[in-house]
Symmetry: C2
Subunit: 364 residues, 2 copies
């Protein structure tokens, strides 16, 4: 039996549906009904394109003009220079304001295609077809688009919403285990910051997700997107509560930036970041030993690292974290846990506390 769920992200006149299910990519009417002209540009990367691009082009080409651009795969290529290749293709193929960009790939392709759509002729339509678990649960919701700068991640971008998201769990069959785990990190995050019962479900069903059981995946993706959509609907431009979605990310970005994009997967860095944030929460007397252990155990069960990279020292973290764009004042803004299922923002003025926890994270 084919399972298909539709989740609506409610953002006024920028609302859109997320279709979640198995085999959705073969149902091209899902895409077709969101087009406003006969022009489409598919943006993909050189890992995903050989597997899925031709079939998608063939399906869509029956009725419309389809162009495509294939970028090199990886966070290291999330740059202005690569972004410009999308503009080159749009212009040389004479795409007008009624064109639609389709992102076929993971988070990097989604972020770059979204920013290209936001900026091309000051805004055209786009559709997300996330092909990794991470991008299905993370970039599907929230409208964050952009590219990296050598001095910081996602420093150049826009808030821009897609017309629809198609999260097809069958494409996860070709996803490497390491990347599946990276996606599970974000899924664990939703449980940790706002849904204790989902966290418990994950503790019981992690083996099904690791085995890529379609029903379990669809459920986990749906709950994750729902939780994120609820938070984003309350705070689209990230002036308050939305920042709790960055649980684990301040540390995580420091790891990614310091180690060089691509060395550590985003989800892996976030997993370590969540464990560090939990330990600080424990140090502040909010989280119990038991809760702190539950989080790191669940991460480990999902195949994720829970210890910082050996070669990173506390001052390496502090240096990068001070530059994080979520910082409002001179202090470092952290997302911590009051309990499993309840996150809070915390302006940390005590760098020594952060250093102490990071230092201890190596050997425990």
């Amino acid at each position: 039996m084919k399972v298909k769920e539709t989740l609506n992200v409610n953002l006024g006149n920028r609302s859109y549906p997320i279709y979640i299910g198995s085999g959705l990519l073969k149902d091209y009417t899902l895409i077709e009904k969101h087009l406003i002209s006969q022009q489409v540009l598919i943006v993909s990367n050189d890992t995903v394109a050989p597997i899925y691009l031709d079939a998608l082009i063939t399906q869509l080409s029956a009725s419309i003009k389809v162009d495509s651009v294939v970028l090199p795969d990886g966070e290291a290529f999330k740059t202005l220079a690569q972004l410009n290749k999308i503009f080159d293709s749009l212009l040389s193929n004479k795409h007008n304001r009624q064109t639609t960009l389709i992102a076929l790939g993971g988070g990097v392709i989604g972020d770059m295609t979204g920013f290209a759509a936001a900026s091309y002729q000051r805004g055209v339509n786009f559709i997300q077809v996330p092909t990794t678990l991470l991008s299905q649960v993370d970039s599907s919701v929230g409208g964050k688009t952009g590219v990296n700068h050598p001095l910081g991640k996602n420093m150049i971008g826009a808030f821009y919403q897609p017309k629809c998201v198609i999260a097809d769990t069958s494409v996860l069959s070709t996803l490497p285990d390491k990347e599946l785990s990276a996606g599970l990190a974000e899924i664990i995050k939703y449980g940790a910051i706002c849904d204790h019962s989902f966290f418990e479900w994950l503790e019981k069903n992690m083996h099904l997700l690791l085995a890529k059981d379609p029903k379990a995946l669809i459920y986990a993706i749906k709950i994750s997107c729902e939780r994120k959509a609820e938070i984003v609907a309350k705070d689209e431009l990230e002036t308050g509560i939305r920042a709790t979605l960055n649980f684990g990310h301040t540390f995580g970005h420091a790891i990614e930036t310091h180690m060089g994009y691509g060395e550590w997967l985003h989800g892996e860095a976030v997993a370590v970041g969540m464990c560090l944030a939990a330990k600080i929460s424990k140090e502040l007397g909010w989280l119990s030993d038991r809760e702190c252990d539950r989080l790191s155990s669940l991460c480990a069960k999902a195949g994720l690292p829970v210890h910082k990279p050996k070669k990173m020292q506390p001052h390496d973290f502090i240096k990068h974290m001070k530059l994080d764009k979520k910082n409002v004042t001179g202090s470092i803004r952290l997302v911590l846990l009051k309990s499993i299922g309840e996150a809070v923002l915390f302006e940390c003025k005590d760098n020594a506390l952060i250093s102490k926890i990071i230092d201890a994270n190596m050997s425990d």
Copy 2:
């Protein structure tokens, strides 16, 4: 007596004031009251910076941290690569989301700084200090920001509003005559498309504007910004009436693109474009001979060209005009005049008509 006018651009929660007057740049409280932190980055070019940058930095530095970046002057440098220099400066100087970008220069600096502000950390504040007549009457209102691509003008950008605009007529004292005339082209445009009595005022007072009479300049800038603001308020995202602001621009962009950015000033190309559009309007039986002549006479009086570049043939225009981003269907969208003071959009399917008028424009 110091004259200062304040015009409010009404765009809901994105509304902002335009201050128009003589000597305003010396009144740094105008800037200061729109800042939300102690960080400022001034973006300027190597023509304007030597004259005005140091004084502005000195005034602002009394209370805040001021950084600056100076880009090469000219439309040829309105590129993604130059834009990146603004991001380099923001990041290396650790600017956060509360920073304010100040554009000190003409339209190119305004457009690039605005797009940098729209994109840096997905959006920070910016203030426009336009230093050319063209940018005071054009980019002050409308929120269009962006950069060029080798295959088309303003193809990459965003709609993004400033916190305020400071149009100081005293900075026009150092503006070359050729650039003053280019600004007058846009001023004439407002009369032509929506204000017959302003057009008459211009016919009578053009000599005062050419002599840089402060009162006449302030009046002309204010009326121009008011007319544009009225149109933009009705149609912020350019889905309808706002397109009439492109009167003369479809032809003008073709001239700029074909001749290479910087060869023809934007206003000069627009002047020729307005004359061509008027002649097509006459050919369609809308404009009288007399009205058509009034427009070209006023352009000539303002020191503007009224004939196309000799080396451009009709097919050169057609080729570029077909790529214009205002085209919705395959036909070329033109802004024409029903009378002086009343513009209409016209989907022109008859390329031969356009060619005929362009061809005749060389020798008449």
